[in-house]
Amino acid sequence: MNAIAFIALAATQVFAGLGVVRAKNLVHSVFWLAAALIATAGLYLLLHAAFIAMVQLVLYTGGVITLMLFGVMLTQRESGTKVPNEAHREVPAALGASLLAGTMLTAIWSTPDLAEREAVANVATDSLLIGQGFLSEQLLAFELLSVLLLAAMIGAIVLARRTDP
């Protein structure tokens, strides 16, 4: 059962990823991205990370995609529905990316340690554990993150406001 789910989700994700990068229309790219993100949430569930999966759905699929769409719509008012998405570097880029993929895959499959790892079962209360982790071990990161979020908000407002009356 798990295997089938994994294969289906994995296939979806890869296919969606290709769609993101190959779509001619920018809005289509964004939608392909949404599909990929949802598939990822499914994979998180397979990995017994329920909280993360929910956060993924809410934050990413909800928030980020919305933001992207806003961005695309805002900047397309005058230049038409299609933003040219063509590429003059397709072949070299494909080659480079393939090279990188090959390298990483070789690294993954040649490391014996990775093959022997067993899945650990810490299942049901993982959100509780995450919360505890945030407020004890990773407290500093947590606090800094909040500062960062504040800074980003202010920064975005400053950058994007209208300066002419």
């Binding site: 570097r89 390298t103 690294a107 040649s110």
Partner: protein, 652 residues
């Protein structure tokens, strides 16, 4: 009184005077008071020198006082101090005596100068006296070297005293430059000597350099050295001596040095400074004794110089130039004697020569001051007007010529005898035929010496007076008293030869080294064959002079010698040096300048320009296109990943 106090006075009294006069400008500009101060310093030095000499004559032991000077890493490299023994005490006396006489003489001689110049003159005199005394008492060669250079500086300052006169300025520079060139020999010799000894560390020596250069320690160290090393060092020292003591071909600065005031010529360039070279050889004699080939070369150069300078002196018309060449000639005698192994001959002649040459110069100064000219053609018949000057001048000339019983006879005779015995051998030593040339040269030069001095006497003091000479008159006591003192010594110094010999044998014996490398033992008033021949030559030289100049005879000889005179007058040696300088030195300098400008600077310029070009070309990578930047980042990441993979893949 303790020798330390006496030595300190002898050396530092003139220094104190010099420093005071140099620093306190208003004092220096007062004129006569400044001069009086200088004379007082000189008298103090003289007094202590006499006391020291008396002590040494009574058999006082050698005293060495040293203080640390240069230190590095906890060990002492060099020391300074005083060494009072039978070698330095007489020299101290000679130097301070001649200096005092000259300074007193200058009180009247230089009174034409304005106060500032007068003060300046005596300041340099005081400084010179200090330097020379410091040289004489030096316990090691490093202090000697330092004082040597300082003496050279004073020579420069005093020769160029009339610095507004171009010829004087040039002459002082020439003297300084030539002696500096020769001093490179001394410097190199010091370095090599240090290397030589340092490599052979042996007890009881230790390895700090002050011991290396301490003259007392020589015998234990020198005798074990290979001859080649000792010869190198000795030859280098001799180069310095050639410059300082005006041996051929480095003698050309001495006649030009006559541009300085006459008392300066008397002190520096007759009696003391030029004698410093001879003194160096005396002090470092064990090194020379270990290098017999260098000794032969020394004798040859000395003999040739003696003869050559005597020939040149014959045709001079300037009275000071005659005396200058005569000095060169006599220095050649001293060097030749030292080369033959006669320490006594060289050193004794140094002292007697100091007296009578200073006397000659000072009396010449008296004449010059009276006639206001250096040329002998402006003189004549001065004996009637300047009886004292004339008398002492004649006495000095006779001493120089080596007339029996005068001081010059004893010392010059000793030199000739030792040269002869070095050549022919004696019951202690085999002879070395190489010494025949110096012997013959010196003997011939003795005759020529008598001739040219006779010529000077006749031209200056006898015959018809010239226009300028008719107004001449004798001078005051300041100029006359020193003449008398020096004349007395010029006559009598030879009779003290025995005690002088005893002074020597003391220190040389304690240093474990007899003077018996010189084959001739000193005898007072002994008339050997050599002595008779020498005296005969002297008298005949005077006779020829009389015939040629007083009686106007021997015209044929005179006309035959005219081309010789012209040749000598052309100044070949001078021109050779000038040519060498222009061709060798300026070419070398130009070459080095080219190298500096094009190779070194060029390299730097190319580097800078290369940087600029590289920067310019690299600018093109900044396209401003964000995609390009991203591409670069990703490409770098890919390369890193690949590299780490290859690396890890190779290891794992």
């Amino acid at each position: 009184m303790s020798p330390l106090v006496l030595a300190s006075t002898a050396v530092f009294a003139p220094l104190a005077v010099a420093l005071t006069l140099m620093i306190v400008r208003p004092l220096r500009h007062t004129g006569v008071p400044a001069a009086a101060l200088a004379v007082i310093g000189a008298l103090a030095s003289l007094g202590s020198s006499i006391a020291l000499l008396a002590q040494q004559l009574r058999g006082a032991p050698t005293e060495i006082y040293q203080w640390d000077w240069l230190q590095t890493g906890g060990t002492t490299i060099a020391t300074v101090g005083f060494q009072i023994d039978g070698i330095s005490a007489p020299m101290l006396f000679v130097v301070s005596l001649v200096a005092t006489c000259v300074q007193v003489f200058s009180l009247e001689y230089m009174n034409d100068e304005d106060n500032a110049g007068y003060g300046r003159y005596f300041t340099w005199h005081a400084l010179f006296l200090f330097s020379m005394q410091a040289l004489v008492v030096a316990p090691n060669l490093l202090q000697l070297f330092a004082a040597w250079e300082l003496v050279g500086l004073c020579s420069y300052l005093l020769i160029g005293f009339y610095y507004t006169k171009p010829s004087a300025a040039r002459a002082s520079l020439k003297a300084f430059w030539m002696t500096k060139l020769a001093d490179m020999g001394l410097l190199l010799g010091l370095i090599f000597q240090y290397v030589m000894v340092h490599g052979k560390v042996a007890a009881p020596f230790g390895w700090d350099a002050s011991v290396v250069y301490t003259l007392n320690a020589y015998p234990a160290s020198i005798m074990g050295y290979p001859i080649a090393a000792a010869s190198l060092v000795a030859a280098l020292y001799f180069i310095a001596v050639m410059g300082k003591s005006a041996q051929f071909p480095l003698h050309i600065w001495l006649p030009d040095a006559m541009e300085g005031p006459t008392p300066v010529s008397a002190l520096l360039h007759a009696a003391t400074m030029v004698a410093a070279g001879v003194y160096l050889i005396v002090r470092a004699y064990p090194i020379f004794l270990a290098a017999p080939d260098v000794m032969v070369a020394m004798s040859w150069i000395g003999g040739f110089t003696a003869l050559f300078a005597a020939c040149v002196a014959i045709i001079q018309t300037d009275i000071k130039k005659v005396l200058a060449y005569s000095t060169v000639s006599q220095l050649g005698y001293m060097v030749a004697a030292l080369g033959a192994g006669s320490l006594m001959g060289g050193y004794f002649h140094l002292t007697t020569h100091a007296f009578f040459k200073a006397l000659l110069f000072l009396s010449a100064g008296s004449v010059i001051h009276a006639v206001h000219s250096n040329e002998m053609s402006d003189m004549g018949g001065l004996f009637r007007k300047m009886k004292l000057t004339g008398t002492v001048f004649i006495l000095g000339s006779l001493a120089l010529s080596g007339l029996p019983f005068l001081s010059g006879f004893y010392s010059k005779d000793l030199i000739l005898e030792s040269l002869y015995h070095a050549a022919a051998g004696s019951h202690e030593h085999a002879g070395n035929a190489a010494y025949y040339f110096p012997f013959l040269a010196c003997t011939l030069a003795a005759g020529l010496t008598a001739y040219y001095m006779g010529r000077v006497i006749l031209l200056t003091f006898f015959g018809e007076p010239s226009e300028k000479a008719s107004h001449a008159h004798e001078h005051g006591p300041a100029m006359s008293a020193p003449l008398v003192v020096l004349a007395t010594l010029a006559v009598a110094a030879g009779w003290g030869g025995g005690s002088f010999y005893e002074l020597f044998s003391g220190p040389m014996a304690t240093s474990g080294h007899a003077i018996s490398n010189f084959p001739y033992e000193f005898h007072l008033a002994e008339f050997t064959a050599v002595g008779v021949v020498a005296s005969a030559l002297a008298i005949s030289g005077l006779g020829v002079a009389y015939v040629m100049h007083a009686q106007d005879g021997l015209k044929g000889l005179r006309t035959a010698l005219v081309p010789v005179g012209d040749f000598i007058r052309a100044g070949r040696v001078d021109r050779t040096f000038l040519f060498l300088y222009k061709s060798v030195m300026t070419t070398a300098s130009d070459g080095l300048a080219w190298f500096d400008r094009y190779v070194i600077d060029g390299f730097m310029n190319a580097l800078g320009a290369g940087m600029l070009v590289a920067g310019d070309r690299s600018r093109r990578a900044q396209t401003g296109n964000v995609s390009d930047y991203v591409t670069v980042v990703l490409a770098s990441v890919m390369i890193l990943a690949l590299w780490s993979q290859v690396h890890a893949g190779g290891a794992g």
